[in-house]
């Protein structure tokens, strides 16, 4: 924070005690950082270690060997659920699910937010409340109906079915985010445009959309990471070669036949984690904003 007027919490304390306090603070921070970083470090290191190295020195150890083999076999050779193309097909299943679901739900959410903030009508606030109820819906309550609906639509065990589910489920979030953001666009701006004869779409295109990038980034990041990481619907409504990566990973992890392929599992797990992790590292600010908004409404 580049806030020059911020108070210094330790300002009133003498230098010696101050140094002591700082030491304790950094020690505590470091200790906690260890708790957070160790799992990631272990899996990263193990993805490059050879199997003999792992079995000799244990899972938690510094590397004594280096190999890239596990990454390539996890990506395209390892056998998951009968097929031996590695994690790659499931990765692309996830991509095929995440991209349309994110784009569609964000686009619809943006339009909904626009209507609910700038074209209010009698009862629109109530409708907004109704739409946000979906945010809280536990997945277990909708499993059976979804199974039926997907059957009727002929979307059972398809990526299309999962896209539909994530669009409907994501709608409440995207609408909530966009509406709460658009509310802060001055109404006068819209009113003036209306007086000048601009219509619904024109105002959206010329006024609202150009102001939208911050919230659209937040929404896209939120939807992307949530849908990519989603597991319940993925594991129930897809099987075999149609599974997204999270569902396939569980199959890989629980198929404990013979020797445990730690290296391959580590690499596979990292491949699955990479897209949301990259999004987090590069869009962290927006990621956090989405989280806080989703939490605090």
């Amino acid at each position: 924070m580049a806030d020059t007027t911020a108070y210094d919490p330790l300002g009133a304390v003498g230098t010696w005690r101050r140094r002591q306090a700082k030491l304790i603070i950094y020690a505590l921070l470091g200790l906690f950082a260890l708790y957070y970083v160790v799992p990631l470090a272990v899996v990263v290191i193990n993805s490059f270690r050879s199997l003999p190295d792992i079995s000799h020195n244990g899972l938690i150890s510094l590397p004594h060997s280096f190999s890239l083999d596990y990454w390539s076999s996890a990506w395209s050779k390892f056998c998951v659920g009968g097929t031996c193309n590695g994690i790659q097909p499931f990765f692309f299943n996830s991509v095929a699910m995440v991209v349309p679901a994110t784009v569609i739900s964000t686009a619809i959410g943006s339009l909904n937010g626009y209507v609910l903030s700038k074209w209010r009508f009698t009862g629109s606030e109530t409708l907004f409340g109704l739409m946000t109820l979906g945010v809280f819906m536990p997945g277990q309550m909708v499993l059976l109906p979804w199974a039926r609906v997907l059957g009727w639509l002929g979307l059972t065990n398809t990526i299309g079915g999962l896209v539909l589910i994530h669009c409907v489920q994501g709608l409440s979030f995207t609408t909530l985010f966009c509406r709460n953001y658009y509310v802060n666009i001055p109404d006068d701006l819209v009113k003036a445009a209306r007086i000048d004869g601009a219509g619904f779409w024109r105002i959206f295109r010329k006024i609202v959309l150009p102001l939208s990038p911050p919230i659209l980034i937040v929404t896209v990041i939120w939807q992307f990471t949530n849908i990519w990481n989603e597991f319940l619907f993925a594991v129930i409504f897809s099987s075999g070669t149609n599974q997204p990566i999270t569902a396939a990973l569980i199959a890989l992890g629980t198929a404990d036949t013979g020797v445990h392929q730690y290296g391959i599992e580590s690499a596979a797990v990292l491949i699955a984690a990479l897209p949301p992790l990259l999004v987090y590292l590069f869009g962290g600010r927006y990621f956090l904003r989405g989280l806080t908004q989703g939490a605090l409404k």
């Binding site: 244990g58 109704l130 730690y262 992790l277 806080t292």
Partner: protein, 315 residues
């Protein structure tokens, strides 16, 4: 934010023809745009909910059967020991998880708020677990907590040969490993919420207290923490909600085991419906999840509405 100057060069000078239908349509255009989402939300929230409720009082088993059967599936559910274990686990996990994540999150937020160096780096480290799926982190933690591959074997390797840390495979203790990982995953987020709160407290208030000679712990206790009361509520609601819905983490870490020691309601629902073909009882169990959730969300909604109205009346 830069607002592009809005120019309306194309103000129509063309005389308007009367097109009643089109005009009417453009009048209700906003509603038309909203309608599909509204319908989808309505179906999702009310129809799907009602549907599941109906199944819970029907004769459905392997296949849906919508004839009335009464409430005996609920009775059976509560008579089932596995369900009672699942429910107990939910409360045990939920309370420890909420207390643990709140405490650690608050502690981290306060530490980070002490004008430390490389703040962004620390924050990034504490928050990253949230970006990754439970399925991924669960796999790693399974290795670390497994006595034969993880911490226990490492410490024995170092020479402390009698060291024992077998919670993951111990019926009594396995649920606590779920708590540890749950806290690991959520506390960074709690930290972020609290940090935002701490930074919103008026610095003049704190300076005044410092001038009065109040110690830092005292300032936190008496001034800063009371000022961020609403953040506590938000943290509580978010954590309780995710505790009640917990599914992925348990599946990835213990799959409900050893035995049924770490079963939680969401896994139970999944098992009943998709593994054992007891649809009605599964729906009843899903209803119970919603029931518990409503104990968190209804008071929260009332509280936040009350706050909104109070703020509005204050201007």
């Amino acid at each position: 934010m830069v607002v592009e100057p809005v120019t309306f060069t194309s103000v129509r000078a063309v005389p308007k023809r009367r097109r009643p239908l089109r005009e009417w349509l453009s009048g209700i255009l906003p509603q038309l745009v909203l309608a599909p989402s509204l319908l989808a939300s309505f179906i999702y929230v009310f129809v799907f909910c009602g549907w599941t409720i109906w199944i819970s009082v029907s004769n459905s088993s392997l296949l849906p059967d919508y004839s009335w059967s009464g409430f005996h599936h609920y009775v059976e559910l509560w008579g089932n020991e596995r369900w009672r274990i699942a429910y107990t686990n939910l409360f045990l996990f939920g309370s420890l998880y909420v207390v643990g994540a709140t405490t650690i999150g608050l502690l981290l937020a306060i530490l980070i708020d002490q004008r430390i160096r490389a703040e962004a780096l620390w924050r990034t480290i504490y928050l990253y677990p949230l970006a990754i799926s439970f399925i991924v982190t669960g796999t790693v933690w399974r290795w670390l907590l497994n006595p034969s591959t993880g911490v226990e074997s490492l410490i024995r390797h170092w020479g402390w040969t009698s060291f024992k840390f077998d919670w993951l495979v111990n019926r009594e203790m396995a649920i606590y490993t779920v708590v540890i990982i749950g806290i690991w995953q959520a506390s960074g987020f709690v930290m972020a919420l609290f940090l935002a709160g701490l930074r919103s407290v008026d610095p003049d208030l704190i300076k005044a207290a410092q001038i009065d000679g109040a110690s830092m712990p005292r300032i936190y206790r008496r001034i800063i923490l009371p000022a961020i009361g609403p953040i506590f509520v938000a943290v509580l609601v978010v954590l309780l909600q995710s505790a009640i819905k917990i599914f992925d983490l348990v599946v990835a870490l213990t799959a409900g085991g050893p035995g049924i020691a770490t079963t939680v309601p969401s896994i139970y629902v999944y098992d009943l419906i998709f593994q054992r073909g007891q649809m009605a009882e599964g729906a009843a169990a899903a209803m119970m999840i919603l029931f518990v959730l409503s104990f968190v969300l209804v008071p929260y909604t009332i509280w936040s509405n009350w706050r909104l109205r109070r703020e509005a009346s204050r201007g």
